[in-house]
Point group: D2
Chain length 366, copies 4
């Protein structure tokens, strides 16, 4: 990861600002011969698109992706794939106030301190709108994974909103696409709708925890010591706007376990090793074991709220600020497809790296 | 980060196995002219060194660092600094049993699956002994930071052992070096000693949470979008052995906050902006604000325990395994100086990157 | 350099095919605050643009560059700059024949062997049209260098066409923009026009040597050992289509010199060290000395010629092929602005890297 | 390539100074399971070792390589391989004079300007002694290539010394190891011995051209556009001390060819495509075709000569300097194994990268 690029062999460089003419992703290192059209990418963008229900910002963006290069007659050629999304709703009148005032919780002050200037329109480069480019790149990664790792399924979902966690006993994969929160617990979906509606009406917002699981994994992905699979997943998720914590498997709660509890015991199943539990989140020593890879990340509450907060101006004056505009009361909702996209990109990248170094040959067991 | 290297301009490549002749770090990109001798690095290694009290492994290692290159007459020359630590206590008789058996919770099985072979002596490359090389590299980073960012202080400490958290009201920086747990709460230090002693005697182990704080920060460090300061810190900490979660500022608990609570309001102080709180952990949009940078990471319990656990052999046979050897009941203790070292390396790297891109000139406020 | 990206801190990723909808460059790491508009970039593209005289291909391309991101109110913001050039003249009817046949001297066969498929339209990614993106990126680099290294001048020119070399005694900087060959020797310009016209009419083509000189250099640029300034310049130039050789200073002829001849003796001038000669091409040990940096590269003759050549088809049949289309009899002419652009990118990149590592402070002499 | 590291997946970081305690290479990304002992590496170091005849420096160095990590029971484990060579002959009394004086043609002045200080002992980091580490790394690359690309042969040899070129009609592969110049022309070997002896006695030195050929190539290696195989070879060779020019195939003379001459026509042979000639040097569009890869580079004459040259001191005084010490009259001789090592590293790296991106599957012909 460096500046605006992530990945080792599958390299994604995103570009663009919230209110510029367009944004996108330059995807380099994609394997050749992968079937790919805009129709393979668009559904993931649609999943992330704003304005779909009252819980997401009412900004209207078509978010239509165009492939400008790297594909010939419906298949990738191995050359860079340029994905462009034009910004159709660039009205910036809502943001005039924040040219001089630093919004608390936003990157306004830090960008100003670092660069000496900034594009204030909608947060410029620091806007979560950048994640649309990630989702598009994730669509490419998914298309390649479909060919290279058959059976792999990457699914993101919310497991916590504010203090409310899902009931793991009620976990139902099929519920995830059925509610606006991508939550696998039908009761939580109902409760959270009411809770969030109340917050929105009180001009407030709230944080969330998203979990992304990869099922149907292959063992051997991860490049120890400093490009471990969990290391790269942690970086990928932490790079998403508003994320403040990342967990693999047991996560922060690993601190509470004893060694006896934590040991994922191993048995021999019909198709290879099986584990009695998955505290490790599918990764040991930075390398996948074939178990499900489980990542969680927290998203802080939307900083743009209609409740006045104290701040300062560039000139150093102390003022109060209400961040008008069209904002999500819980940005965590739209972070779900972003987390999935990052997982897809990291897994493809590690598949390619591993194939490069080891040829993808596995040590036999049994 | 790639394979065994981390960093962008300040690049550290660690090498070596637990029971090979030596291990070390190749440190590239260090600024020239930094005063540096082995005596600047050795104290940090001594802090991490095993066998110092009954709570850390009784393996005896001198952990004497030698500088083999990159320093002339006590100052860095700008060329690569090779740091070598010879392994003096390489007895591997304790480990004979694990050549065929995969230790649960260890990387034995995943290394075997990926590489088709592995160095079984003490965990080989996946041993936490690799962190000695990080600590040595961190010593170089600290020496450079002393010259470049005067006033910067990096301090690591434990904030949780098993279910027991420190009392933040009793936080005392001066207590940290006064107890074997690097804990800033004198009562916790006493309670934890008793708790851990019991675990050790029952052949068990436990996890922990370490916090690392950088005080005296400068604003402007961090390279959005994919080399954000928090992104690189998350990667750096997650790459440490046994780490399962990383948090910046409010961390996973950010999910529980509302937007009103979470906003770190800004006022104008005599020396520049001041914040009413630090939920952000000193980083906004991936860039440091000048507030303290606060990172936490969880360490899972030591997987090597004397309690028998079920596992399999390379041949696929199901067996029980007791992991003998000399092990820490809470590896989190010795992760404290490792976390500090990673913080030092990341901050120096970002200082250099920022100086490269922006010249280190800051946007004025007031 | 990796896949489609070059540079360390100033990183350029080019994308796009000859006959796709667009091509461009994603420019990352540009310093903030640099005045930049399309008008700063367009003149360099115009210099490279085809169809300007009878010695360059008659393909008509507007080559209008658009800045899609990274600039706000006429100044760079430090975020990625997306430069897009739409392909307006995409007629591919001329190229139908080469879908099955490999053109000798072209990358058709190697792309097919590597990727299993290729975009045959105009050479796809391997077309020299990709260099338009480099020239656009070079325009950004020049704009930044103008602010950071005042007095620096980068000038490219032809020094050889076929067997005909310029007369160094007649070297005149002012002649360079006055003729279609960017040649600093007025007599050569006249002779070469006649020579090339003859070649073109006989359905043939010819190679060339281009020299690029940077005057007004600063010392200290270059990152030994493997990102030496000459190393990166060699890579940059060799990456240009059709280039087969790169020289720094004395170049290949350094083999003929004795040590006595080759020593660039040093004296003390009013403004610092002065050299009696410049066999080194301004670089010692990979680091600039402040002398002019002088790079040369050879460009092979255009492979697309109307004279029939023997080749094979994908099916393995032996055939004869005439490469129709609109081609330059000497692609070296249009390589001049490309070489300049690469020089600009490398120098800016090394300026930023050096500023990062050393702070740009120089060892004093005298 | 970045600072002291080169390679993408097979990454080599060299470290160490001419007169420090040791120097070496950290080799990362080597495939696992490769048979490797010191005995696989030592012969290449012996080939480069000084003091073997009157044409190479009389400095006595054992140049014994030690493998400190990454190998277990005679096979690589996939983890970093540390190669250390201790400096046994560190006497620096010969070099006292050059602490204050900049040797013409050496990196003394540029290192001083960049870093503000330098290790003057034997040139410190800029000494050609660094190439011992490259040769050791090349030994690892050759061991891996032996397993991965059976039939590949990499051979370096001199083709020019001073103005004297070999007679290509007399080219004999078997002669190369039979003379001190690694020259494939028995008459040249004899003539050059006399020529060089004269130069040495007159306190002078001379340049050379080395050619490295890879026979038994596979097609498909090279990562366009900016990590083309020829781009990376050019960078690798230009990074060697004293190299001033690099050529692929026809090289600088490509400028003299017409398109008709330059076209390497293709026919269909029993085992696949065959070419009528190899002006391209085995690379088209940055990708290997399966033909021999042919690289040449020039080495300037040894700058350390006993003839006095004018220079300045750090204080700015003009002085005369004779560079005493033990030096090669033609450093090009010892550059032969260095060029071979760089070729081996680049080919292995590209083999792994290609296997990563494409799976090493080739487009069929016929």
């Amino acid at each position: 990861m460096s500046f605006n690029t992530f990945g080792h062999l599958f390299r994604v460089t995103t570009w663009g600002e919230s209110h510029g003419p367009a944004l996108g992703a330059t995807v380099d290192g994609c394997p050749p011969g992968v079937p790919l059209t805009e129709a393979d990418i668009q559904p993931w963008l649609d999943k992330r698109k704003p304005g779909q229900n009252k819980f997401t910002t009412q900004r209207q963006e078509a978010d239509q992706v165009r492939i400008l290069s790297g594909v010939y007659e419906g298949r990738t050629t191995g050359t860079p794939i340029q994905l462009m999304i034009e910004n159709t709703d660039q009205r910036s009148k809502d943001y005039g106030d924040i040219l001089q005032k630093f919004r608390p919780g936003h990157a306004d002050i830090s960008y100003h301190q670092k660069y000496g200037l900034r594009d204030p329109r909608g947060g410029g480069r620091s806007s979560a709108r950048e994640t649309a480019a990630r989702v598009a790149a994730g669509g490419v990664a998914r298309a390649a994974l479909r060919a290279l790792v058959p059976g792999l399924r990457i699914t993101g979902y919310m497991v916590q909103m504010g203090p409310h966690k899902i009931d793991r006993a009620q976990f139902d994969w099929d519920q995830i696409p059925e509610n606006p929160f991508w939550v696998p617990d039908v009761q939580a979906a109902s409760d959270w709708a009411e809770y969030l509606d109340g917050l929105r009406r009180s001009h407030n917002s709230v944080g969330a925890v998203i979990e992304v699981t990869a099922r149907g994994m292959v063992p051997g992905l991860g490049a120890p010591i400093y490009a471990k699979l969990d290391t790269d997943l942690a970086a990928a998720m932490m790079s998403i706007n508003a994320v403040k914590g990342v967990e693999i498997g047991e996560g922060m709660d690993a601190a509470c376990l004893t060694g006896v509890d934590n040991a994922d015991e191993i048995r021999m199943g019909p198709d290879g090793p099986e584990f009695s539990s998955n505290h490790a989140g599918g990764i040991l020593g930075g390398i996948s074991t074939g178990q499900d890879v489980v990542v969680r990340f927290s998203v802080k509450p939307t900083s743009s709220i209609l409740t006045p907060r104290r701040t300062i101006t560039i000139a150093g004056e102390e003022v109060e600020l209400i961040t008008k505009g069209r904002h999500d009361p819980c940005v965590g909702i739209r972070a779900v497809p972003v987390g999935e996209a990052m997982m897809a990109c990291v897994l493809l990248d590690h598949f390619l790296m591993d194939r490069g170094q080891t040829g993808g040959q596995r040590g036999q067991i049994g």
